[in-house]
Amino acid sequence: MINLIIFSCGLLFAFGLALSGMTQPSKVVNFLDFTGKWDPSLMFVMGGAVFVYYIGQRISLSRDKPTYAVNFQLPTATEIDLPMAIGNVIFGIGWGLVGFCPGPALVSSVSGNPQPVMFLVAMSFGMYAYGAVAEHFLTRPLPQVDGGAGIHEHAMLEALEAEDKKHHLP
């Protein structure tokens, strides 16, 4: 069930990207280059997304825990350090150069168009290379991948907890 839900989220996300125009790199560039033929459409993308996400997030976080996981894995860092800021600049430059970012690149890569495929391969290499370098040469930790039990271990843990409760009745 959980896999179906996660898969559907990916599906919905892809539809959203395509409908919004984010999969049209020229539209992205025309939004970013506001001195040119400015197309403000993408402002509406972020506006719509943030609005809906904010509401959904309030609902989600008002519960004890996610339905299929032990805990919420939200970023805990509160400060921007210099490497992060530099990373944001680098990301911005890459994004502004062609108008692709990770999500649209993935969605467009299956269309038979070689451009997003090339971008995706290069992006994957960049991500992997950064991880490899960061681990060996920088003291800075990699972006947090885990903060608790994985989703699919959740069912196992619940079963264990239930067993535990059975043996410790007051």
Binding site: I6, C9, G10, L12, F13, A14, G16, A18, L19, S20, G21, K27, L32, D33, F44, V45, M46, G48, A49, V50, V52, I59, S60, K65, P66, T67, Y68, F72, L74, P75, A77, T78, A85, G87, N88, I90, F91, G92, G94, W95, L97, V98, G99, A105, V107, V110, S111, Q115, F119, M123, G126, M127, Y130, G131, L142, P143, V145, G150, I151, H152
Partner: protein, 143 residues
């Protein structure tokens, strides 16, 4: 203003926000694509399967869009292969170093009212705008 598509863009944004919210509700995870995809490359135990499933959803979604509305995915950017590859490398490195991308910081981060993400968005938007300007106006729209 050219090709202004407020309805489609807003609707698409709503779907993106909805998908992200549903993911958070059921799994407690942030729908930051660079984190999801990049996390697969890091291959940590217990953190790979859900990511693969989500990315599979993205890809199948792409296939469906390509089937019913190919116009949404068809484009030809006036960029050399070199330019595209360079951009990909920068986005890959930058998204990991910067702890997120447009979905992670822009949607989920701002949605959390996280100052760190808001700052990140300001930084990468500025860099992206400056870059787009340079490419369009100083390089004649080619790269």
């Amino acid at each position: 203003m050219e090709n202004f598509t407020p309805i489609e863009s807003l609707s698409g944004g709503v779907l993106i926000g909805l998908a992200s919210a549903i993911l958070l509700f059921f799994t407690g995870r942030i729908a930051g694509i660079s984190g999801i995809f990049g996390g697969i490359l890091q291959a940590k135990h217990g953190e790979t399967q859900w990511r693969v499933v989500f990315v599979a959803g993205l890809l199948v979604g792409g296939l469906l869009v390509n089937f019913f509305r190919p116009d949404m995915l068809q484009f030809q950017m006036d960029r050399t292969n070199f330019g595209i590859i360079a951009a990909g490398l920068l986005v890959g490195i930058g998204a990991r170093m910067g702890n997120g991308c447009t979905s992670g910081h822009g949607v989920c981060g701002i949605g959390r009212l996280a100052p760190r993400s808001m700052m990140a968005v300001v930084i990468f938007m500025t860099a992206a705008a400056a870059t787009a300007y340079v490419v369009n106006h100083l390089l004649g729209g080619h790269l």
